[in-house]
Protein backbone atom coordinates (compact mmCIF):
# COMPACT_ATOMS: atom_id res chain seq x y z
CA UNK A 1 0.00 0.00 0.00
CA UNK A 2 1.21 3.48 -0.80
CA UNK A 3 1.87 5.95 1.98
CA UNK A 4 -1.13 7.32 3.86
CA UNK A 5 -1.79 11.06 3.96
CA UNK A 6 -3.11 12.17 7.28
CA UNK A 7 -2.47 14.96 9.76
CA UNK A 8 -0.39 15.74 12.79
CA UNK A 9 -1.96 17.12 15.96
CA UNK A 10 -1.06 20.64 14.80
CA UNK A 11 -3.06 20.24 11.58
CA UNK A 12 -0.17 19.84 9.13
CA UNK A 13 -0.19 17.03 6.59
CA UNK A 14 2.02 14.06 7.21
CA UNK A 15 2.73 10.96 5.11
CA UNK A 16 2.87 7.75 7.05
CA UNK A 17 3.37 4.15 6.04
CA UNK A 18 0.54 1.75 6.87
CA UNK A 19 2.75 0.23 9.54
CA UNK A 20 3.34 3.63 11.13
CA UNK A 21 -0.40 4.36 11.19
CA UNK A 22 -1.12 1.03 12.87
CA UNK A 23 1.66 1.58 15.39
CA UNK A 24 0.30 5.01 16.27
CA UNK A 25 -3.25 3.70 16.67
CA UNK A 26 -2.04 1.02 19.06
CA UNK A 27 0.26 3.40 20.92
CA UNK A 28 -2.40 6.10 21.31
CA UNK A 29 -4.91 3.66 22.71
CA UNK A 30 -2.28 2.18 25.02
CA UNK A 31 -1.41 5.62 26.37
CA UNK A 32 -5.03 6.27 27.34
CA UNK A 33 -5.38 2.80 28.82
CA UNK A 34 -2.28 3.24 30.97
CA UNK A 35 -3.30 6.64 32.29
CA UNK A 36 -6.97 5.90 32.88
CA UNK A 37 -6.55 2.21 33.83
CA UNK A 38 -9.12 1.36 31.17
CA UNK A 39 -9.22 -1.20 28.35
CA UNK A 40 -7.44 -0.65 25.04
CA UNK A 41 -9.38 -0.68 21.79
CA UNK A 42 -10.33 -4.06 20.36
CA UNK A 43 -8.61 -5.38 17.19
CA UNK A 44 -11.70 -4.86 15.03
CA UNK A 45 -11.97 -1.28 16.29
CA UNK A 46 -8.34 -0.63 15.39
CA UNK A 47 -9.03 -2.17 11.97
CA UNK A 48 -11.92 0.28 11.44
CA UNK A 49 -9.71 3.22 12.37
CA UNK A 50 -6.93 2.00 10.08
CA UNK A 51 -9.32 1.55 7.15
CA UNK A 52 -10.69 5.02 7.79
CA UNK A 53 -7.27 6.69 7.79
CA UNK A 54 -6.07 4.64 4.82
CA UNK A 55 -9.02 5.67 2.68
CA UNK A 56 -8.12 8.40 0.21
CA UNK A 57 -11.51 10.12 0.51
CA UNK A 58 -11.48 13.61 1.91
CA UNK A 59 -14.73 13.21 3.77
CA UNK A 60 -15.72 10.36 6.08
CA UNK A 61 -19.07 9.70 7.69
CA UNK A 62 -21.08 7.35 9.83
CA UNK A 63 -23.04 4.52 8.30
CA UNK A 64 -26.65 5.29 7.44
CA UNK A 65 -28.80 4.71 10.48
CA UNK A 66 -25.98 5.60 12.90
CA UNK A 67 -26.49 9.35 12.78
CA UNK A 68 -26.04 11.14 16.09
CA UNK A 69 -27.10 14.54 17.37
CA UNK A 70 -25.08 17.70 17.76
CA UNK A 71 -25.13 19.83 20.89
CA UNK A 72 -23.32 23.15 20.89
CA UNK A 73 -21.10 25.06 23.23
CA UNK A 74 -19.73 28.55 22.85
CA UNK A 75 -23.17 29.80 21.78
CA UNK A 76 -23.45 31.97 18.70
CA UNK A 77 -19.94 33.38 19.16
CA UNK A 78 -18.79 31.25 16.23
CA UNK A 79 -20.60 33.55 13.83
CA UNK A 80 -20.52 37.07 15.25
CA UNK A 81 -17.48 37.09 17.48
CA UNK A 82 -13.83 37.46 16.61
CA UNK A 83 -10.83 35.14 16.51
CA UNK A 84 -10.77 34.99 20.32
CA UNK A 85 -13.88 32.80 20.13
CA UNK A 86 -12.97 31.24 16.76
CA UNK A 87 -15.58 33.57 15.35
CA UNK A 88 -15.87 34.72 11.76
CA UNK A 89 -16.98 38.27 12.54
CA UNK A 90 -20.36 38.31 10.80
CA UNK A 91 -22.62 41.32 11.49
CA UNK A 92 -25.36 39.17 13.03
CA UNK A 93 -27.37 39.56 16.20
CA UNK A 94 -27.56 36.58 18.52
CA UNK A 95 -31.12 35.88 17.43
CA UNK A 96 -30.13 35.95 13.76
CA UNK A 97 -27.13 33.73 14.43
CA UNK A 98 -29.24 31.27 16.43
CA UNK A 99 -31.75 30.90 13.62
CA UNK A 100 -28.92 30.51 11.12
CA UNK A 101 -27.53 27.62 13.13
CA UNK A 102 -30.97 25.98 13.20
CA UNK A 103 -32.02 26.56 9.62
CA UNK A 104 -28.87 26.73 7.54
CA UNK A 105 -26.47 24.56 9.51
CA UNK A 106 -28.97 22.02 10.86
CA UNK A 107 -27.80 22.07 14.46
CA UNK A 108 -29.80 19.99 16.93
CA UNK A 109 -29.37 22.31 19.91
CA UNK A 110 -28.06 25.83 20.24
CA UNK A 111 -27.10 28.26 22.95
CA UNK A 112 -27.49 31.83 23.86
CA UNK A 113 -24.42 32.97 25.78
CA UNK A 114 -22.57 36.14 26.67
CA UNK A 115 -19.79 37.21 24.30
CA UNK A 116 -17.56 37.05 27.38
CA UNK A 117 -18.67 33.48 27.91
CA UNK A 118 -18.28 33.07 31.68
CA UNK A 119 -20.81 33.10 34.51
CA UNK A 120 -19.26 36.05 36.37
CA UNK A 121 -19.61 38.65 33.57
CA UNK A 122 -23.06 37.31 32.64
CA UNK A 123 -24.56 38.18 36.02
CA UNK A 124 -24.72 41.98 35.68
CA UNK A 125 -26.51 41.71 32.33
CA UNK A 126 -28.79 38.81 33.21
CA UNK A 127 -31.94 40.63 32.16
CA UNK A 128 -30.52 41.16 28.68
CA UNK A 129 -29.55 37.50 28.52
CA UNK A 130 -33.02 36.44 29.62
CA UNK A 131 -34.60 38.60 26.93
CA UNK A 132 -32.45 37.07 24.22
CA UNK A 133 -33.30 33.57 25.42
CA UNK A 134 -36.99 34.45 25.36
CA UNK A 135 -36.72 35.84 21.85
CA UNK A 136 -35.24 32.66 20.40
CA UNK A 137 -37.60 30.43 22.38
CA UNK A 138 -40.45 31.96 20.42
CA UNK A 139 -38.91 31.70 16.97
CA UNK A 140 -37.00 28.42 16.93
CA UNK A 141 -37.75 24.74 17.37
CA UNK A 142 -34.46 23.23 18.54
CA UNK A 143 -33.72 23.13 22.29
CA UNK A 144 -32.46 26.47 23.58
CA UNK A 145 -29.65 26.31 26.08
CA UNK A 146 -28.05 29.10 28.02
CA UNK A 147 -24.32 28.48 28.24
CA UNK A 148 -21.38 29.79 30.20
CA UNK A 149 -18.11 28.66 31.70
CA UNK A 150 -17.93 28.46 35.51
CA UNK A 151 -14.36 29.80 35.08
CA UNK A 152 -13.31 29.89 38.74
CA UNK A 153 -10.17 31.70 37.64
CA UNK A 154 -12.14 34.95 37.38
CA UNK A 155 -12.81 34.83 41.12
CA UNK A 156 -9.12 35.01 41.96
CA UNK A 157 -6.94 38.12 42.00
CA UNK A 158 -6.42 40.23 39.92
CA UNK A 159 -9.85 39.61 38.33
CA UNK A 160 -11.64 38.71 41.54
CA UNK A 161 -11.42 39.21 45.29
CA UNK A 162 -9.75 35.97 46.42
CA UNK A 163 -6.01 35.30 46.65
CA UNK A 164 -4.79 33.35 43.65
CA UNK A 165 -3.68 29.75 44.29
CA UNK A 166 -1.40 30.01 41.24
CA UNK A 167 0.53 32.68 43.17
CA UNK A 168 0.36 30.93 46.55
CA UNK A 169 1.35 27.40 45.56
CA UNK A 170 4.82 28.26 44.15
CA UNK A 171 5.54 29.93 47.52
CA UNK A 172 4.63 26.75 49.34
CA UNK A 173 1.53 28.36 50.87
CA UNK A 174 -0.59 25.28 50.35
CA UNK A 175 -3.00 25.83 53.24
CA UNK A 176 -3.63 29.40 52.10
CA UNK A 177 -4.19 28.23 48.49
CA UNK A 178 -6.68 25.62 49.65
CA UNK A 179 -8.52 28.18 51.79
CA UNK A 180 -8.73 30.57 48.83
CA UNK A 181 -10.13 27.79 46.61
CA UNK A 182 -12.72 26.81 49.20
CA UNK A 183 -13.93 30.38 49.59
CA UNK A 184 -13.94 31.16 45.87
CA UNK A 185 -15.82 28.02 44.91
CA UNK A 186 -18.67 28.92 47.26
CA UNK A 187 -19.13 32.26 45.52
CA UNK A 188 -18.85 30.61 42.09
CA UNK A 189 -21.44 28.02 43.13
CA UNK A 190 -23.84 30.75 44.24
CA UNK A 191 -23.39 32.53 40.91
CA UNK A 192 -23.96 29.32 38.94
CA UNK A 193 -27.17 28.64 40.87
CA UNK A 194 -28.40 32.21 40.54
CA UNK A 195 -27.90 32.34 36.76
CA UNK A 196 -29.36 28.86 36.31
CA UNK A 197 -32.50 29.88 38.18
CA UNK A 198 -32.83 32.99 36.03
CA UNK A 199 -32.78 30.91 32.88
CA UNK A 200 -35.29 28.42 34.23
CA UNK A 201 -37.59 31.35 35.03
CA UNK A 202 -37.82 32.35 31.38
CA UNK A 203 -38.34 28.81 30.11
CA UNK A 204 -34.95 27.89 28.67
CA UNK A 205 -34.70 24.25 27.72
CA UNK A 206 -31.29 23.65 29.17
CA UNK A 207 -28.18 25.01 30.82
CA UNK A 208 -24.65 24.21 29.69
CA UNK A 209 -21.78 24.43 32.16
CA UNK A 210 -18.92 24.60 29.69
CA UNK A 211 -15.18 23.96 30.12
CA UNK A 212 -15.91 22.65 33.59
CA UNK A 213 -12.86 22.19 35.82
CA UNK A 214 -10.73 24.55 33.74
CA UNK A 215 -9.39 25.85 37.06
CA UNK A 216 -9.22 22.41 38.61
CA UNK A 217 -10.98 20.51 41.33
CA UNK A 218 -12.47 23.55 43.09
CA UNK A 219 -14.32 24.54 39.95
CA UNK A 220 -15.44 20.96 39.37
CA UNK A 221 -16.91 20.79 42.86
CA UNK A 222 -18.76 24.10 42.47
CA UNK A 223 -20.20 22.85 39.19
CA UNK A 224 -21.25 19.44 40.50
CA UNK A 225 -23.07 21.11 43.35
CA UNK A 226 -24.76 23.45 40.87
CA UNK A 227 -25.78 20.45 38.74
CA UNK A 228 -27.28 18.87 41.82
CA UNK A 229 -29.21 22.04 42.62
CA UNK A 230 -30.41 22.47 39.02
CA UNK A 231 -31.52 18.86 38.74
CA UNK A 232 -33.57 19.13 41.95
CA UNK A 233 -34.98 22.62 41.59
CA UNK A 234 -35.49 23.34 37.89
CA UNK A 235 -36.84 21.69 34.75
CA UNK A 236 -33.71 22.48 32.80
CA UNK A 237 -31.70 19.83 31.02
CA UNK A 238 -28.20 20.10 32.46
CA UNK A 239 -25.21 19.61 30.19
CA UNK A 240 -21.69 19.50 31.59
CA UNK A 241 -18.82 19.90 29.17
CA UNK A 242 -15.34 19.47 30.55
CA UNK A 243 -12.23 21.56 29.96
CA UNK A 244 -9.56 18.88 29.98
CA UNK A 245 -9.10 15.16 30.19
CA UNK A 246 -7.79 15.13 33.76
CA UNK A 247 -9.01 17.27 36.64
CA UNK A 248 -6.14 19.34 37.99
CA UNK A 249 -5.71 19.24 41.75
CA UNK A 250 -5.09 22.89 42.64
CA UNK A 251 -6.65 21.99 46.00
CA UNK A 252 -6.05 18.27 45.92
CA UNK A 253 -8.36 17.19 48.72
CA UNK A 254 -11.83 18.16 47.53
CA UNK A 255 -14.31 15.35 47.24
CA UNK A 256 -17.81 14.81 45.88
CA UNK A 257 -19.77 12.03 47.60
CA UNK A 258 -16.55 10.64 48.99
CA UNK A 259 -14.71 10.61 45.66
CA UNK A 260 -11.62 12.75 45.30
CA UNK A 261 -11.97 15.01 42.29
CA UNK A 262 -8.30 15.74 41.62
CA UNK A 263 -6.86 13.38 39.07
CA UNK A 264 -10.20 12.15 37.72
CA UNK A 265 -10.19 10.88 34.14
CA UNK A 266 -13.23 11.15 31.82
CA UNK A 267 -14.97 7.93 32.89
CA UNK A 268 -14.63 8.95 36.54
CA UNK A 269 -15.81 12.51 35.78
CA UNK A 270 -18.85 11.01 34.04
CA UNK A 271 -19.79 9.04 37.15
CA UNK A 272 -19.93 12.07 39.42
CA UNK A 273 -21.78 14.19 36.85
CA UNK A 274 -24.29 11.38 36.52
CA UNK A 275 -24.61 11.12 40.32
CA UNK A 276 -25.17 14.86 40.57
CA UNK A 277 -28.11 14.56 38.18
CA UNK A 278 -26.64 15.83 34.91
CA UNK A 279 -28.48 15.06 31.67
CA UNK A 280 -25.58 15.13 29.20
CA UNK A 281 -21.87 14.68 29.85
CA UNK A 282 -19.28 15.99 27.42
CA UNK A 283 -15.83 14.45 28.02
CA UNK A 284 -12.73 16.12 26.70
CA UNK A 285 -9.56 14.41 25.53
CA UNK A 286 -6.77 16.83 24.74
CA UNK A 287 -4.87 16.66 21.45
CA UNK A 288 -1.09 16.31 21.56
CA UNK A 289 0.10 18.51 18.71
CA UNK A 290 3.39 16.56 18.41
CA UNK A 291 1.62 13.28 17.72
CA UNK A 292 -0.30 12.14 14.64
CA UNK A 293 -4.08 12.29 14.37
CA UNK A 294 -4.29 8.46 14.35
CA UNK A 295 -2.47 8.47 17.69
CA UNK A 296 -4.63 11.24 19.09
CA UNK A 297 -7.92 9.79 17.88
CA UNK A 298 -7.22 6.26 19.10
CA UNK A 299 -6.34 7.75 22.47
CA UNK A 300 -9.46 9.91 22.57
CA UNK A 301 -11.78 7.08 21.60
CA UNK A 302 -10.27 4.81 24.25
CA UNK A 303 -11.16 7.37 26.92
CA UNK A 304 -14.63 8.00 25.47
CA UNK A 305 -15.44 4.29 25.19
CA UNK A 306 -14.75 3.96 28.90
CA UNK A 307 -17.44 6.61 29.45
CA UNK A 308 -20.08 5.29 27.06
CA UNK A 309 -19.68 1.71 28.23
CA UNK A 310 -21.28 2.30 31.63
CA UNK A 311 -23.07 5.63 31.19
CA UNK A 312 -26.74 5.96 32.10
CA UNK A 313 -26.90 9.42 30.55
CA UNK A 314 -26.10 10.56 26.99
CA UNK A 315 -22.42 11.17 26.30
CA UNK A 316 -21.51 13.97 23.88
CA UNK A 317 -17.71 14.06 23.58
CA UNK A 318 -16.16 17.37 22.68
CA UNK A 319 -14.88 17.02 19.12
CA UNK A 320 -13.44 20.31 17.98
CA UNK A 321 -10.30 22.36 17.81
CA UNK A 322 -7.68 20.53 19.87
CA UNK A 323 -10.00 17.96 21.45
CA UNK A 324 -11.48 14.59 20.60
CA UNK A 325 -8.58 13.72 18.30
CA UNK A 326 -9.01 16.85 16.18
CA UNK A 327 -5.85 18.87 15.49
CA UNK A 328 -5.12 21.98 17.49
CA UNK A 329 -5.50 24.50 14.70
CA UNK A 330 -7.77 27.49 14.17
CA UNK A 331 -9.49 25.92 11.15
CA UNK A 332 -9.35 22.16 11.78
CA UNK A 333 -9.02 20.32 8.45
CA UNK A 334 -12.21 18.65 7.34
CA UNK A 335 -10.53 15.37 6.33
CA UNK A 336 -9.73 14.57 9.96
CA UNK A 337 -12.66 16.41 11.56
CA UNK A 338 -15.07 14.12 9.71
CA UNK A 339 -13.01 11.06 10.60
CA UNK A 340 -12.78 11.95 14.28
CA UNK A 341 -16.49 12.76 14.44
CA UNK A 342 -17.63 9.58 12.73
CA UNK A 343 -15.26 7.38 14.72
CA UNK A 344 -16.52 8.83 17.99
CA UNK A 345 -19.99 7.57 17.09
CA UNK A 346 -19.09 4.31 15.36
CA UNK A 347 -16.38 3.10 17.76
CA UNK A 348 -16.70 5.41 20.75
CA UNK A 349 -20.48 4.79 20.89
CA UNK A 350 -21.10 8.48 21.54
CA UNK A 351 -24.73 9.59 21.75
CA UNK A 352 -23.88 12.87 20.13
CA UNK A 353 -21.09 15.35 19.73
Amino acid sequence: MAEIQTRMGDGYTVSMTPEEVREDLVAGSADAARRGKIPVLEPDELDYLFEMFASPTRIWGVERGREAVLSKDGSTNSLYSAQLSSGVGLPLSREQAFRTFERAFGFDTMEIGHTDYSVKPSKPIVVLEQNHVEAVLHTTIIPVFYGFMPNLGLYYQPDGPFPNPSDLLPKGQIAEARAATEEALEVCYNDLVWMTEKMDEVGADGINYDTTASTGDGEFLATLRAVEWAAKNTHLAVEVGMAAECVLGFHGQLEYNGKRLAGMWPHQQMEVVQEAGGHIFGPVVNTNSRKSTPWNLARAITFVKACTKDAKIPIHPNVGMGVGGVPMFEIPPIDVVTRCSAAMVMIGKADGL
Partner: protein, 81 residues
Amino acid sequence: MQLSKKMRLDEAKEYVAGKLGVSVMDLCDSTVMRRLREELDIGVITAVAGAAKGLEAKARIADLLDVRINCVERLKNKMGL
Protein backbone atom coordinates in the same frame (compact mmCIF):
# COMPACT_ATOMS: atom_id res chain seq x y z
CA MET B 1 -35.45 12.59 24.52
CA GLN B 2 -31.83 12.83 25.61
CA LEU B 3 -32.63 16.11 27.32
CA SER B 4 -36.03 15.33 28.78
CA LYS B 5 -35.53 11.71 29.79
CA LYS B 6 -31.75 11.18 29.63
CA MET B 7 -32.19 8.51 26.97
CA ARG B 8 -29.10 7.14 25.24
CA LEU B 9 -29.07 7.55 21.47
CA ASP B 10 -30.45 4.17 20.39
CA GLU B 11 -33.24 4.26 22.96
CA ALA B 12 -34.09 7.84 21.99
CA LYS B 13 -34.33 6.92 18.31
CA GLU B 14 -36.55 3.92 19.07
CA TYR B 15 -38.82 6.07 21.22
CA VAL B 16 -39.24 8.84 18.65
CA ALA B 17 -39.60 6.42 15.75
CA GLY B 18 -42.31 4.63 17.69
CA LYS B 19 -44.18 7.83 18.43
CA LEU B 20 -43.98 8.95 14.81
CA GLY B 21 -44.89 5.55 13.39
CA VAL B 22 -41.71 5.14 11.36
CA SER B 23 -38.69 2.88 11.46
CA VAL B 24 -35.41 4.03 12.97
CA MET B 25 -33.88 3.99 9.46
CA ASP B 26 -36.68 6.26 8.25
CA LEU B 27 -36.06 8.57 11.20
CA CYS B 28 -32.54 9.11 9.90
CA ASP B 29 -33.73 9.62 6.30
CA SER B 30 -34.06 13.29 5.47
CA THR B 31 -36.33 12.58 2.49
CA VAL B 32 -38.83 10.65 4.60
CA MET B 33 -38.64 13.07 7.50
CA ARG B 34 -39.09 16.20 5.38
CA ARG B 35 -42.48 14.97 4.21
CA LEU B 36 -43.44 13.57 7.60
CA ARG B 37 -42.59 16.78 9.44
CA GLU B 38 -44.85 18.74 7.08
CA GLU B 39 -47.69 16.23 7.48
CA LEU B 40 -47.40 16.34 11.27
CA ASP B 41 -46.86 20.11 11.18
CA ILE B 42 -43.90 20.01 13.55
CA GLY B 43 -41.64 22.36 11.62
CA VAL B 44 -39.71 22.00 8.38
CA ILE B 45 -36.32 23.30 7.36
CA THR B 46 -37.48 25.49 4.48
CA ALA B 47 -39.68 28.53 5.00
CA VAL B 48 -43.18 27.30 4.18
CA ALA B 49 -45.97 29.82 4.74
CA GLY B 50 -48.57 28.49 7.14
CA ALA B 51 -46.36 25.74 8.55
CA ALA B 52 -45.91 25.66 12.31
CA LYS B 53 -42.88 27.61 13.36
CA GLY B 54 -40.96 28.23 16.54
CA LEU B 55 -42.96 27.70 19.69
CA GLU B 56 -45.99 26.44 17.71
CA ALA B 57 -43.94 23.55 16.37
CA LYS B 58 -42.36 22.94 19.74
CA ALA B 59 -45.76 22.69 21.41
CA ARG B 60 -46.90 20.16 18.82
CA ILE B 61 -43.68 18.16 19.34
CA ALA B 62 -44.25 18.14 23.11
CA ASP B 63 -47.73 16.64 22.57
CA LEU B 64 -46.61 14.17 19.93
CA LEU B 65 -43.68 12.84 21.93
CA ASP B 66 -45.41 13.15 25.29
CA VAL B 67 -42.57 15.16 26.79
CA ARG B 68 -42.45 18.21 28.98
CA ILE B 69 -40.74 21.17 27.31
CA ASN B 70 -39.97 24.10 29.58
CA CYS B 71 -40.91 26.93 27.23
CA VAL B 72 -44.14 25.19 26.17
CA GLU B 73 -45.15 24.93 29.81
CA ARG B 74 -44.38 28.62 30.23
CA LEU B 75 -46.68 29.42 27.28
CA LYS B 76 -49.47 27.35 28.85
CA ASN B 77 -48.99 29.16 32.16
CA LYS B 78 -49.14 32.53 30.44
CA MET B 79 -52.37 31.55 28.73
CA GLY B 80 -53.88 29.99 31.83
CA LEU B 81 -54.07 26.56 30.21
